[in-house]
């Protein structure tokens, strides 16, 4: 090969590399890996936060249902009925454990490239495998997602034990993809649940007759400048709006975590390449922080 062909080849590679935003190598890759692992922890925290919100929503739902039962019971009735508590607790518990285990892995993933790191990687990996095992036995998990998570968890555990950065990222790509698939599969159910909680409270509250309210007390609580005969209806609307906005915030949070998981997957996929693009990994991390990072 002539020298000018070599130079042309080198120049083309350099241009491509520049266009792609530059490739990271050595220490750069290790730093990117650490940053992405921090991004992974951010996503895990957001997922856990969402599950805790759903957990609390079950309590809210029970309280709202009990209130509606009292408010709509015949006035001569002496009943104070309980509502069914926490119908989705088992599903939430299994998923919380799986995300906590993923968080342990990410805590250790940060030091993966550093020979001086003394993180307890083996223990984190085995916790992940056992949490994923529990996830797999949950009856509501789509079989394909459960199998994907289980297989990928084993691969991550192997790669972590061997401290191979690219291998670990390739395995993490599959693992996070399986978590993302599971999240997506759950979204319809969670959306239906949010709808049920919101709609049942709103429909029940709208049906409460005006004679169940003390007009003077309601007038103290409604500050809008409307005809006092509308106050009870306005008061009901205010209560419904408060409930709707809480549920909307949870729905948005669930949506953001789903998108952040896909970005995390893309970041790992990039770091599994022989010449990862610094810019693409950083873009994933920045967008994760925008979506679910601390506000």
């Amino acid at each position: 090969m002539k020298i000018h062909q070599l130079l042309a080849g080198w120049l083309a590679a350099a241009v491509l590399s520049t266009l792609a935003g530059g490739c990271a190598s050595g220490r750069g890759v290790a730093d990117l890996n650490d940053r992405l692992a921090t991004g992974g922890l951010t996503v895990v925290d957001a997922a856990i936060h969402s599950y805790v919100d759903l957990e609390n929503l079950q309590t809210t739902d029970r309280q709202q249902q009990e209130r509606i039962k009292v408010l709509t019971a015949p006035l001569d009735s002496q009943l104070v009925l309980e509502a069914h508590p926490r119908p989705l607790q088992h599903e939430i518990d299994v998923r919380l454990a799986a995300y906590k285990a993923l968080g342990d892995v990410y805590s250790n993933f940060r030091g993966l490239a550093s020979p001086a790191s003394h993180g307890d990687l083996d223990s984190a990996a085995s916790k992940l495998v056992s949490a994923v095992g529990a996830l797999r036995t949950a009856s509501d998990i789509p079989p394909s997602a459960a199998a994907g998570v289980s297989k990928a968890a084993g691969m991550v555990a192997d790669a972590i034990q061997r401290r191979r950065l690219r291998e670990a990222n390739a395995a993490a790509t599959k693992l996070v993809a399986a978590y993302a698939e599971l999240w997506q599969a759950d979204m319809t159910g969670w959306t239906d649940y949010l709808h049920r909680v919101t709609a049942d409270y709103a429909d029940g509250l709208r049906s409460v007759p005006a004679d169940r309210f003390d007009p003077q007390k309601v007038a103290e609580l409604v500050s809008e400048p409307f005809d006092p005969r509308l106050f009870i209806r306005i008061y009901k609307l205010n209560l419904i709006e408060q409930s709707d906005s809480r549920q909307l915030a949870i729905a948005q949070e669930l949506e953001s975590v789903g998108r952040a998981l896909k970005l995390l997957e893309a970041g790992h996929a990039e770091l599994a390449l022989s010449a990862p693009s610094t810019e693409r990994v950083n873009q994933s991390i920045d967008r994760i922080n925008l979506l679910v990072g601390p506000k």
């Binding site: 709509t72 009735s77 009943l79 509501d140 049920r196 049942d200 429909d203």
Partner: protein, 114 residues
């Protein structure tokens, strides 16, 4: 559209209409059978909600040879229940029909749950 989507929609409708008409339904229950009947009606309402939560959270085996029949039976029962609730029909009928839906959904989940 999966057959369970229709069942889910029918359950959703039954719960929604129950809530819209709950004052009339509960008063009718109280007039006929006092607190006992009010409690029975509210208990079926709770069970209906639980059935809805089961349907949205469980993975069902659509390849099971009984899938179509079981889902169709539960959907038809939910449609009958909707008619009773919408017209604020006889409270005993509402309770019977709600109980039938709950039993059929329970059977379906046991038979088809993955």
């Amino acid at each position: 559209m999966a057959a369970t989507d229709d069942l889910k929609a029918q359950l959703d409708d039954a719960i929604r209409v129950f809530n819209v008409k709950r004052v009339a339904l509960l008063q009718s229950a109280f007039d006929k059978g006092g607190d006992d009947q009010v409690m029975q009606l509210e208990s079926e309402y709770d069970a209906l909600r639980d059935s809805y939560f089961e349907i949205i959270s469980r993975e069902l085996d659509e390849n099971n040879h009984r899938y179509d029949q079981l889902v169709s039976d539960a959907t038809d029962a939910a449609k009958d229940l909707n008619k009773s609730i919408s017209s604020v029909g006889e409270v005993a009928t509402v309770i019977d029909r709600a109980s039938k839906v709950v039993n059929l959904v329970g059977r379906l989940v046991i038979a088809l749950g993955v």
